[in-house]
Structure formats: C-alpha cells, structure tokens
Symmetry: none
Subunit: 186 residues, 4 copies
C-alpha cells in the first residue's frame, strides 16, 4: 500500500476509535465509521475483509499503545521510585491524552469475542523486562509478572475511569504512587 493509502487506513482507524468513545462498541457501525472517516463504506472493505477482522486488527494494534507511550517516558537510568511514578503517571496521562484509544482498548478487552485476540502480557512485556532488570539489581521486590501488571496498571486505570474531576484525580494519583512505591521498593 502506498503512503496515500496508509493515511486513509489511518483515518479509518481513528474514526472507529473516536466513535467507540462517543457511541460505544455497540453503537459503532461500518457506515458511521465511513462517514466519520470521510470515505465510502465500500472503501473500508478495500482495507479490511470484514468488520470483525477490522476490529480485531485495530484492537491488536492499539492494545499496546499505552505501553509504547510508557516506553517513551521511562529509562533504565531512572531510580526505582521514579520509574514507578513515571509508569503510573504515564498510564494516567495516556488515558487523558488519548481518551479514545483508552476507551477503545478498555471496551474491546472486556468483550469476550475480542479479548482472546490479545494478551495484556505480550503488550506489557517491554515494561516488565525493564522491571526485571530492577528486580535483579535488588532495587525492586521480586513479585511475579502477573501481580506486577495487576498492581501497576489496573488501579490507575480504575482511577482514570472513575475520576472525572481532574483535581481529585491528582491527589489520588499521588497517593497511589506512594502506595506502589512502598509496596514494590525495599
């Protein structure tokens, strides 16, 4: 596909993701996506074989977006406390800066017909590798990957979902960071 085409495919993806935020997974139809993307419904079938495949593919692509976002913000030189803070703040700010993607991934990952397509673990493996390094250097407690993922990502997303008020959010965010530091550091 040429660059022109890639740009069009991108427009379709973004349209879909925007619609998920506005209308929910069950309110997002192919024709609405087409209208939102400014293309014909038929054009969508140039890039995808079916709505189902499209959903699965875009879900797969975007499910790692929060982790890629994080990877750009962390660095192995950070001390462990800052790493934890950066991860948690990063999760939170991702959910604000990319609200549509955040909501899209949350919706897809809860949908039983889609969730099997993607494993959280694969997506988060780079971050976890980084943490392994800290663990091996004795800078972080040696909890298992599953538990780490559960406590590092789930609570902050929980806050992101339930807090509309940004200020209250900030306070709870700081508290959560302190909690996770005391939990994961020595």
């Amino acid at each position: 596909m040429r660059s022109k085409d890639l740009e069009k495919k991108q427009r379709i993806k973004e349209a879909m993701v925007r619609l998920f935020l506005r209308e929910g997974i069950d309110g997002t139809s192919v024709s609405k996506i087409a209208r939102e993307a400014g293309v014909s419904p038929a054009t969508i079938y140039v890039y995808y074989n079916s709505k189902e495949e499209m959903l699965a593919e875009v879900f797969r692509e975007y499910s790692s977006a929060p982790y890629r976002y994080l990877m750009q913000r962390v660095s192995p030189e950070m001390d462990a406390a800052l790493l934890i803070e950066t991860i948690i703040r990063g999760c939170f700010s991702f959910s604000r800066e990319h609200e549509e993607i955040f909501s899209f991934v949350e919706q897809c990952s809860r949908c039983p017909t889609l969730s099997e397509q993607v494993s959280e673990e694969e997506c988060s493996c780079d971050i976890l590798d980084l943490i392994h390094a800290y663990q091996q250097r004795g800078l972080m407690r040696p909890y298992s990957d599953g538990s780490l993922g559960a406590v590092l990502f789930a609570p902050v997303r929980f806050l992101a979902m339930n807090r509309c008020d940004p200020c209250a959010g900030e306070e709870e965010l700081s508290e959560l960071i302190r909690m996770m530091q005391s939990l994961l550091l020595y």
Copy 2:
C-alpha cells in the same frame, strides 16, 4: 388479566446477562434475549420501554452484585489480614461463580453510554464503611477511599480477566493477597 410475572422478568435479565458473556454487548439483540429467555420479543417490552432502558436498569441492578456477594462473606470480627484476604478471594471467586454477571458488569462499565449511569463508589460503600472502622481502630492504614477501591478491586479483577489457567490464578492470587496485606496493614 394475568399478573405481571416477576419470575419472567428475572428470566429476561438472566438471559441478557448470559448472552453478554457468550456474544458480547454488541452481539446481544432483543430477539436473541427473547429466545434465550423463552418469551416473545414483544413480551420484553411489557417489562422494559426500550433496549436502552433495559440495559441501564439491569446494569444498575447487577453493578452492586459483586459487593453484595462480598458483604455476605466478610464480618467485622475478622482480623484485618483476613478481611483483606476475604475481599480479594471473594472478588475472584465471584468472577468464577458468576462469570456472566462479572463479564456483563465489566462490559457495561466500560461502555461510555452506560457507565455514567452507575458509580462504583456507591456500590462499594458498604465494604468501604467496614474498612473505615478498621482504619479508625488503627488496624489499617488510612488510605483514601478512591485508592482503596483501586487497589482492592481492580487488580484482582485484572487477574480474573487475564487468567484462564486456574492454577496460575491461585498462586498469583495468594501473592496479590500478601501484597495487599503488606500494603494496607501496619
């Protein structure tokens, strides 16, 4: 006249919730619900004005189900460590024993058109009140409600969602319990 049949309404609810698990929110139509419940599609409109209202009402009802389940298992006489263990194990076993309700609530609470209808906080307030008592007696650290909810419920649900293998689940669950105890107790 025939009197309105609450048992029939219940069957409709359960049919909907079962379908959410099997087919997802976007694959659940009124006629499928009717077939699953063994009634005519028109009958559903005797009990609900529209699919939207039905969804909202059932979501509202079931969103507190996990917390009601928990409340039956905890007691103010438990020591703090056991309380935490009971809550986390309770969350997990609810997700196994009531897989459909768990999945239903997770899906609805991520759907932007529905999530506003229900606040997690209201649902969890009884549990939080119980914890307040422990906090006031100096048996648990005085974290805010938001943070408590975030760390007590979100990670275990995260595990429940991502672990299919029941054994791995058990180990991580134990670890998570230990983590939360060390985090929340003195």
Copy 3:
C-alpha cells in the same frame, strides 16, 4: 348494554376521534385509543369485534353529525337567503366547534377502504328534503341534489380546511354566502 357501558363506549369513540385529529388516521392505534380513553385495550374488544369494524361503525355514526348539527339550526320558516346563510355558517362553525369530528370524517371519507361504507347523500337527505320544499315553492332554483350538495357543503369545508386565520375566514365566508345566495336564489 347498560348506561355505564354506553358511556364507556362513548369515551372510546371520542378518544379515537381526538387521536385522528392529533395523530392522523395512520397514527391512531388501538392501544393509543385505549390509553386516551382510559381503558384497557382488551375493553375495546368488548364493544367492537375489530379495529376495522370499530372504525367503520364510528365513521358511520359521525358522518351524519355535521348534518344533524345543521338540522338543529335551520327551520322551514326561514326565508331562502337565511337558509343558505345558516347552512354555510353552520358547516363552518361545526368545523370549528367539533374540529375532531370534522377532521375524522374528512379523513375517513377520503380513505378508499372506508369511504364506501357511507354515502354523503344519505347523510344530507334531511337538509336536501328541506331544500326541495323551497324549490317546490319556487323560492330556490331547481338544481339537482348532487350539485346542491357539491356547492353547499364542499366549498365551505374547503375554506374550513385551508383557513387557519379566523378573520380572513370570516370575510371569505361572507363572500361565499353571497355567492351561494346569488347562485341558488332567483
């Protein structure tokens, strides 16, 4: 049927006729009629065998209402000019005082599945008999019944339908009366 029942049947009729004005013939369903009349849908079937029969029967009853209204206002003692004026003004004021019945009859009489049930001529025969007397006394020109009906009733109903502004209505009404007097009198 007892008087209680007749009153209920009357309520149903009036509800139907009111709905025809508000929602049109195609927007009037049995359940809406029931709700408007304050009875159960099933009750309607105590009085009528089907919606179709109900419609036909009520149409038959109300189609002569404008003529009965007229008959109460005219008298064989009137001079011919006054008779014409009374008829035309009567038609017009009926359409204002009984807007629902007027609209109901107009709608039914245009509907091909209903119109055959009722003939205008039968309904207007009393008025026409009165006019025959004037014609035989040489006080009105001897036009045929069909033409008389056409010029006495159709134009004023045309005005009643198309004039919303009551003042413009009055002027045109007076003009129409003068026209009909010059047409029908010697």
Copy 4:
C-alpha cells in the same frame, strides 16, 4: 459505483401512490411499497430518510399535479365561459385519469400531520393568475382567490369522489359547469 436511478425513485413514488388508492394511507407500509415497486425495502432508504419524509416529499410533488394538468388545458385565448368549463372538466377528468394521484392527494391533504406541509393556494396560483387577468378585463366577477378556489375546485372534487356511476357524473358535471358560469360571469 452505480449512479442514482431517477427512474427507480419514480417507481417508488408511483408504487406508493398506487397503494394509497388500493389500501388507503393507513394500509400502506414501506415493505408493501417496496414490493410494489420491485425493490428491496432498504433501497427506499437510499432515496428517502424516513417514511415520513418520503410521504411529505411525494405529497408536496403531487399536490400541484392537478393544477399542472389544468394549466396544460387552459389558454388565455379562451373565452371566460370556456375557461370555466375547461377548469371544471379538467378537474374531473384528472380525477379519472389519475385516480391514484387524486386519491393520494385527497388523503394526504386531510391528514393533520401532513396537510401543513402544502398550501393549496401555492399550488393553484398559476390558474388563479390566469383568472385575475379575466377579472381585470371585466370578463369575470371579482371574487377573492379563496372563494374562487373554493367554488371552482371543491365542488367538482366532491362530485368526483361521490359519483361512481359515470353517466350520472356527466350530467351533474354539466349542471355544475352551468352553475359556475352563471355565478362567475356577468
């Protein structure tokens, strides 16, 4: 892509109008229209946004049809008596040659939810302009437009509706023409 097929839209309109004559406004459903037009119900929604809009648009289009029909038959060179005869005969023969359109417009114009969409006056303005010329030349009495419309169009439509027997129709038609000539000419 296929280009929008105006002939197909026309087929849909004609199907609707035909059904109004056969089954009445309340017996005309979108699927019946589709079947009658030989298209899929969904196709109708390519051309119209809703049944309501479709009805309104087609009503608007056809409401002037009888007047356009008349305009092709009259001419400013006719003498006044012939003009009146042509108009009345034209109205009548339109109702016979285009029975479906006649019935369609009559039904729509009586339906309160539709009638506001179209004003008789706008439709008849060309004919009325022609008559104004005769009035100004002193060839026809100077009655107002409202009254003219009422006596020129309403009675003949009344006859067209109530006369099934074609012979009786013809006699009354002649009489009506004579009446209108004596009424409107000097």
